[in-house]
Symmetry: C2
Subunit: 87 residues, 2 copies
């Protein structure tokens, strides 16, 4: 099962990369982009057909390696294959 | 309108960060994670109510600044507010 993890900074944590992008967009003439923030995306293929168990496994991976839970939040999306069982 | 841009490496482009994560997961005992790949996530607030125009604006930003179109693909998701007009 394909799983996507999106990792974003917790609210209140400084996002210098987001600020830099915002300033660059402004200086290129894009005045209508505000509140730019950045994050990470990790996709992986899990040897697990059950969505709940896949979610649990990936959550464990997030807590132990992928995410710095002090400053980051994460979200797990399972991409179920076309089996009439779309998530 | 809140817009999320997901940026991933084109197929065939080396992803050393993904390889590193895969190896780390393996050495931590997670044997069922395969094909790990990484990407970037940029969220921004666009001063535009029309979804198509917002998409066009963000696509332009992607082409000129946010994305290296030689090696990266991007995907634009608009998060329409609850107005019975969900995307």
């Amino acid at each position: 099962m394909k799983v996507t993890v999106t990792i974003t900074l917790k609210p209140g944590v400084l996002d210098p990369q987001g600020r830099a992008i915002e300033h660059s967009l402004l200086s290129l003439g894009y005045q209508d982009a505000k509140e730019v923030s950045t994050g990470k995306l990790i996709t992986l293929d899990i040897d697990e057909d059950d969505e709940n168990r896949a979610r649990q496994k990936v959550a464990k991976m997030c807590e132990t390696l992928l995410v710095n839970t002090v400053i980051e939040d994460y979200d797990i999306h399972c991409l179920v294959a076309d089996e009439g069982d779309e998530a």
